[in-house]
């Protein structure tokens, strides 16, 4: 079933890493396989944050395999060489796990060409690129992933997250949410539900040059929205088009550098509880996610069928 959570502080920053960890941990029973965060952090905005993986963390049903760390190290060297060839200057690099890295890079050319080139290296996947987006996903519950990547200290304005119960594809990082809105910087998506026209849409979008990294149906939402935005649609317009373009049941969140949005399918088949005040919007698959950061009595509601909402920071 999966659990999703999101929050946005309006006009101020907060400890979004810790807040989202609490919200996702409260939803652990909806998805114990993997947890993902897309945090919009208070970075200086000068450089791109590139998060990528050179291998997998593999669980049940995955089509990938775990490999030796020496293999990952060799791949990392190939990535470094490729970045240099592309003209990207690495300002700072961090090894987060044997298979995943966070780089700060200076780069001013086309991100799509850049991504295609980096991902042409076998088993290398860019998890996200952005000036404020920090996209982290791995196997385990919210606390495990947060501790592994040191997320509870991340300060920022907003974030979305996902606790995954694997149903449509195996347990691994490539199928975990959030999905980056390739090739757009700072765009991420999480989804609860099931899309039934995944393959039809995927074939059409691949023919238009869009890229899919997993067999997870939820990735379609990120690609669908990215394709609409590439053709000039605003985020909200793309989300409204998704209500008819995507078939199945869904509630999804999408976040950009300065906004957070939600969309619910026309049958309202997937849950969402929403809290909205002047300085904070918090939402999740269940009210207990919101209660984990707002224990006082508050007014919440369920958005209706076919509803799309977008909030700015």
């Amino acid at each position: 079933m999966c659990g999703i959570a999101g929050l946005i502080h309006r006009g101020k920053s907060s400890n979004v890493g810790e807040e989202l960890q609490h919200m996702l941990q409260a939803l652990k029973h909806r998805g114990p396989d993997s947890t993902g965060y897309a945090l919009y952090a208070n970075n200086d905005g000068q450089n791109f944050i590139l998060r990528f993986k050179v291998g997998e963390n593999v669980g049940e049903g995955s089509t990938s395999v775990n490999e030796d760390e020496s293999v990952y190290n060799e791949r990392k060297k190939i990535v470094d060489k490729k970045l240099s060839e592309l003209g990207a200057l690495v300002v700072k690099e961090e090894k987060l796990t044997p298979y995943s890295y966070r780089y700060e890079i200076k780069f001013d050319k086309d991100l799509m060409d850049f991504s295609k080139s980096v991902e042409s290296i076998p088993s290398v996947e860019i998890l996200s690129i952005g000036k404020s987006l920090e996209l982290i996903k791995d196997l385990g519950d919210a606390t495990v992933v947060s501790e592994r990547y040191g997320l509870n200290k991340v300060q920022g304005t907003h974030g979305i997250g996902h606790a995954r119960m694997a149903t449509e594809s195996g347990v691994d990082i490539k199928s975990a949410h959030p999905f980056w809105g390739y090739p757009f910087a700072d765009v991420s998506v999480v989804h609860n539900g099931q899309l039934t026209n995944y393959w039809n849409n995927r074939r059409v979008l691949e023919n238009k040059g869009m890229r899919f990294m997993s067999e997870c149906d939820s990735e379609l939402i990120a690609v669908f929205l990215a394709e609409k935005m590439r053709n000039g649609a605003t985020l909200e317009e793309g989300m409204k088009e998704s209500l008819t373009g995507l078939d199945g049941v869904f509630t999804y969140f999408v976040a950009t550098k300065d906004s957070l949005g939600m969309a619910k399918d026309t049958m309202a088949a997937k849950p969402l509880v929403l809290y909205e005040s002047d300085d904070l919007v918090a939402m999740g698959s269940e009210e207990i996610a919101i209660r984990s950061i707002l224990p006082q009595e508050i007014d919440t509601y369920d958005p209706f069928d076919g509803e799309v909402k977008v909030w700015q920071t």
Binding site: M267, A269, P271, E287, R291, D299, D302, D305, G306
Partner: protein, 284 residues
């Protein structure tokens, strides 16, 4: 009610709500044997005193522990229990089968007060999906909003939400009354089979989709009618019933019920009219 000690066996059974009639055709009814009257016991029920009141803080309890505490308090005769700090927890107050005043000072998560038979419940907050699912009897009042599947498959009782509700309110409803003070989402009354739904505000698309029977009253706009749902003229009986029901529910005090839209099933179930009343339940 007849005197159970002196009544004839048949009268005795009927007085206890059972019957001995013989039905033809398929039926799901099970019959009470009057010879076993002395052994009749409604498991999980307690004699309580409404004047005996207590508070229960469930902040640090999970739902199983909290429900166990409620049972324990009822077994001690407490008839009015105030639950503090429910904080959106799931499945609180479920399976209560006796009279009880149960008050929640806060909001409930999913499946709150499900499968109840008799208690009077007030939630001074919001409820999540499937509140009061399978309720048999009693009264539940929600002061704020409710999630989807509000009153799913209820058999009886009154279920009132003073705010707005999500999708599929009264799905598979088999009896009782659901009253909504605000708006309701899509597929309200989906596969409804008995009972009444009253919505003072607007309602979403596919109202009463695939309904077999029952009545839906809408005060505001209707997104669209579902398959099998049709509008029907309001009668004086409808208006009288609505006025009485809203007054008892303490909701919509000045609402003009005569302008409401009445929605009923436009198709009859196959062979439905040929069945005995008791057999109709088996048919659906």
């Amino acid at each position: 009610m007849a005197n159970l000690k002196t009544a004839e066996k048949k009268t005795k059974a009927q007085s206890m709500g059972m019957h001995t009639e013989t039905l033809t055709g398929k039926t799901q009814q099970k019959f009470f044997n009057p010879d076993e009257a002395e052994n009749f016991f409604y498991w999980g029920t307690f004699d309580v005193d409404f004047n005996k009141r207590t508070n229960l803080d469930v902040k640090d309890l999970d739902c199983k522990q909290a429900n166990g505490k409620i049972d324990e308090l009822m077994s001690q005769g407490y008839g009015t229990i105030v639950i503090k700090n429910p904080q959106g927890k799931h499945s609180l107050g479920v399976g209560i089968l006796n009279k009880l005043n149960l008050i929640f000072e806060g909001s409930l998560g999913y499946f709150g007060v499900g499968s109840i038979d008799g208690p009077i419940v007030r939630v001074n907050g919001r409820v999540g999906w499937s509140c009061a699912e399978n309720m048999m009897a009693g009264k539940v009042v929600i002061e704020k909003n409710a999630g989807s599947c509000f009153g799913a498959a209820i058999r009886g009782g009154d279920l009132i939400c003073k705010g707005s509700v999500g999708a599929r309110t009264g799905i598979d409803q088999k009896g009782g009354t659901i009253i909504i003070g605000g708006d309701a989402g899509a597929f309200t009354g989906f596969m409804m089979q008995r009972g009444r739904i009253v919505i003072l505000g607007d309602v979403g698309i596919n109202l009463g989709d695939s309904m077999y029977d029952g009545t839906i009253y809408v005060g505001g706009k209707i997104g669209s009618f579902g398959s099998d749902a049709v509008e029907s003229p309001m009668t004086k009986d409808d208006i009288d019933w609505l006025k009485r029901k809203l007054k008892v529910a303490e909701i919509g005090e000045n609402f003009d019920v005569s302008k409401m839209t009445k929605v009923v099933a436009g198709k009859k179930l196959w062979n439905y009219d040929a069945l005995e009343p008791t057999e109709k339940k088996g048919a659906i």
